[in-house]
């Protein structure tokens, strides 16, 4: 009699949103199937239809509580085009305020992920006690590190409050600009520090954080580098000179060896290059590049992809950190746990950019909004914390939104995430009859590296136990509950 086993990890914990992993093992306990299911459905693309276009930046951001700023700004970029404007034609103050908001968002989101979601696995161990494997356990182990994590995140949130009006779900990006500038008093709180660290302190802490991860990597190189190594096509926006630009630019995609697949194309042409595949077992689609087909055209986005794609980072400390990263890991890294390293380098870049913008008097300007003629289509791209984000709207001249297409970072990473899960499951669980909680957590570690936002990706939050079932001939013969 053959015995196959089905393992279900439900829910995947320490990710944004609600997902489930199913692993099928054959009689030799080898993994035959590994799938990340996104089991929530949000449907924003549908219920944005019929709403007024100027509402989109405020409405659509409600699909997420972690990265609403990314959706707010991406929708605003798209809607700018509906009112005849573009990032290039906005006022300097509007563009600067939006960029400052975005850097605050990426900084706080990366801090949340690194300190609250990822670091417990790294510093406490993937097979440490689950009850302690969280930010509370991290605080007990390294109080200073945990405190810095909380304060860096708070700093980013305060940047968002100053630019968007509140920390979550602000409303300042309006069609054709921004509705507020940064007052000198608001600006000075970030120089002086107090309840939040000063911007100089945040830069120093981010620099030390990179060294902290680098030292951790040196001590655990075999595990980190061997955890999941999956060469992938990498996609991101880049600035006109190929430098990292998290807010605006052209679209570049490279293959695993760095060869250009999309050579800095204008992102308005994305439909000429993109296709999406739906699979029946998940609400999340699988985007791919037409030129390579569904099998080979999948892409990785996010911090590791951006580090691979860009020629360099246009802030000095982050550029120096990038050079160290590349000297130790090669020009292109496809080791999934290097994503955390890339993420902390981006935190430093954001902090440096924030300091630059805070010193720029253009943020105290009064010229905030401009509008041109009506245009029925608006497309916005930006680099959200988790990767490339696309908002695409079609609008009637009356002002009614007729169509909305959202391709979010986690959707871009769908295939890559599934492959990493399978890779880790095969390595950790393959051939094993007895499966421990720590082994299952390693599967989750692979998912967490992508910092997936599952609620964004499917257009529920909750606390459910992790459930593992061994299924034999359709019947559950063994079950683990965490």
């Amino acid at each position: 009699m053959t015995e196959t086993r089905k393992i279900v990890i439900d829910p995947v914990t320490r990710v944004e949103g609600h997902g489930r992993v199913t692993l099928l093992l054959d009689e030799a306990h080898q993994v035959t199937e590994a799938r990340v299911h996104i089991v929530e459905f949000r449907g924003f693309e549908r219920f944005v239809q019929g709403r007024p276009y100027w509402e989109a930046p405020v409405l659509v951001q409600r699909l997420c509580g972690i990265c609403p700023v990314s959706h707010h700004l991406c929708a605003a970029k798209a809607i700018d085009e509906v009112v005849g404007m573009s990032d290039e034609t906005l006022t300097e103050t509007a563009r600067g305020m939006r960029r400052l908001m975005h850097y605050g968002q990426v900084l706080q989101s990366h801090a949340l992920h690194y300190f609250y979601l990822a670091a417990p696995d790294l510093l406490l161990g993937v097979d440490s006690q689950p009850a302690l494997r969280n930010v509370i356990g991290l605080a007990a182990l390294d109080p200073e590190l945990a405190k810095r994590g909380i304060l860096i995140r708070k700093f980013g949130q305060e940047i968002i409050r100053a630019t968007a009006g509140k920390k979550i779900h602000g409303i300042s990006a309006v069609p054709g600009g921004i509705h507020k500038n940064l007052s000198p008093a608001e600006r000075d709180t970030f120089f002086q520090g107090g309840e939040i660290p000063s911007v100089d302190t945040v830069i120093a802490w981010c620099s030390e954080l990179i060294e902290h991860y680098r030292a951790y990597h040196a001590r655990n190189r075999a595990w980190i580098d061997g955890f999941a190594h999956d060469p992938a096509n990498c996609l991101s926006l880049v600035g006109p000179d190929g430098q990292m630009d998290l807010y605006h630019g052209n679209l570049r995609c490279i293959d695993a060896q760095g060869k250009r697949i999309l050579d800095d194309i204008n992102y308005h042409q994305y439909l000429d290059h993109y296709a999406e595949e739906a699979r029946e077992w998940t609400y999340m689609k699988f985007p791919y590049l037409r030129v390579l087909g569904a099998e080979r055209g999948w892409m990785r986005v996010g911090p590791l992809a951006r580090i691979n794609v860009c020629e360099g980072i246009p802030t000095p400390k982050a550029q120096a950190a990038l050079e160290v990263f590349r000297s130790e890991n090669g020009r292109y890294s496809h080791r999934v746990l290097h994503t955390h390293w890339a993420r902390v380098i981006e935190m430093l870049h954001c902090a440096e950019r924030i300091r630059e913008w805070l010193h720029n008097p253009v943020l105290q300007g009064e010229d905030l909004v401009r509008k041109g003629g009506f245009h029925p289509v608006g497309i916005g791209f930006l680099e959200a914390p988790r990767g490339t984000l696309i908002h695409h709207y079609e609008v009637a001249e009356s002002g009614e939104i007729l169509k909305c297409n959202l391709i979010v970072s986690t959707t871009h990473n769908n295939e890559s995430m599934n492959r990493s899960v399978r890779m880790v499951a095969e390595r950790v669980l393959g051939g094993q009859r007895d499966i421990s909680e720590g082994m299952l957590n390693q599967v989750e570690v692979a998912i967490r590296a992508y910092d997936p936002c599952l609620s964004c990706a499917t257009h529920a939050l909750g606390q459910m136990p992790l459930r593992v079932q061994a299924v034999q001939q359709g019947e559950v013969v063994q079950e683990w509950i965490r």
Partner: protein, 231 residues
């Protein structure tokens, strides 16, 4: 000039002297009692009396204070807990009847219904939400109607006129099918100032300027308070 007659009434056990025939809402506010109102606006005679949020008890009977003219000897109750419950119930019913999605509404922070909900400490409606689908009317040149938010207060239909004194808004249909509509020819001729006046007159976000919204920063809107600004 008509002669003003003073009469005595009792409000929550306190005797006060008031102008006979004055609106009870005006009288109560002059006496320092902030009775809640939604459809009511100052100096409108006759009052609209549509929302019933200003419910008080007069001589043992619940009435809308805005529709009542004071007369000698009235016994008025405003402070009874059951009246606050009744007033909040009316507001909750308004939320349950429409589709009031404050997080994405242009009027948020300036919305009188939202402000009333905050003031009453409302966190949800005790009554089942109807989730009725109401239409949006994009046909206007500069104004549009978002009927999901209309509370049928009649401010726009009864109080708003264009520069020539013509009414622009009216109700169509009856009962639960009642919907606000606008005269598109007159709307097309409205001045910028008149368009803004119509938007401001609407206590909720049912009358909107097309292409505009969210143009005032959080902290500068009429109902922003420190504790509400992060909501």
């Amino acid at each position: 000039m008509s002669e003003v007659t003073k009469v005595g009434i009792v409000v929550d056990g306190r005797s006060i002297e008031v102008v006979e025939g004055a609106s009870l809402v005006d009288v109560l506010r002059l006496a320092g009692i902030d009775v809640p109102t939604l459809c009511w606006t100052r100096d409108v005679d006759p009052p609209l009396g549509t929302c019933r949020v200003c419910a008080v008890r007069v001589d043992g009977r619940e009435v809308a204070a805005c529709t009542l003219a004071v007369r000698a000897g009235m016994q008025v109750e405003c402070a009874a807990p059951d009246l606050a419950e009744l007033q909040q119930g009316v507001v909750e019913l308004l939320f349950a009847e429409g589709n009031h999605f404050c997080p994405a509404c242009e009027k948020s922070g300036d919305c009188e219904l939202q402000t009333m909900g905050y003031r009453m400490g409302m966190t949800h409606s005790r009554f089942p939400y109807r989730f009725e689908s109401y239409s949006l009317d994009y046909r206007g040149q500069r104004l549009m109607l978002e009927r999901n938010r209309c509370i049928h207060c009649k401010r726009c239909t009864d109080l708003f006129t264009d520069d020539e004194g013509h009414r622009v808004f009216c109700f169509l249909g009856k009962g639960s099918q009642t919907q606000v509509v606008m005269d598109l020819e007159r709307e097309a001729k409205l001045s910028e100032h008149k368009c803004d006046e119509a938007v401001a007159l609407c206590p909720v976000g049912a009358i909107l300027r097309k292409g505009r919204g969210f143009d005032r920063p959080i902290g500068t809107r009429a109902s922003d308070t420190p504790e509400r600004m992060d909501r």
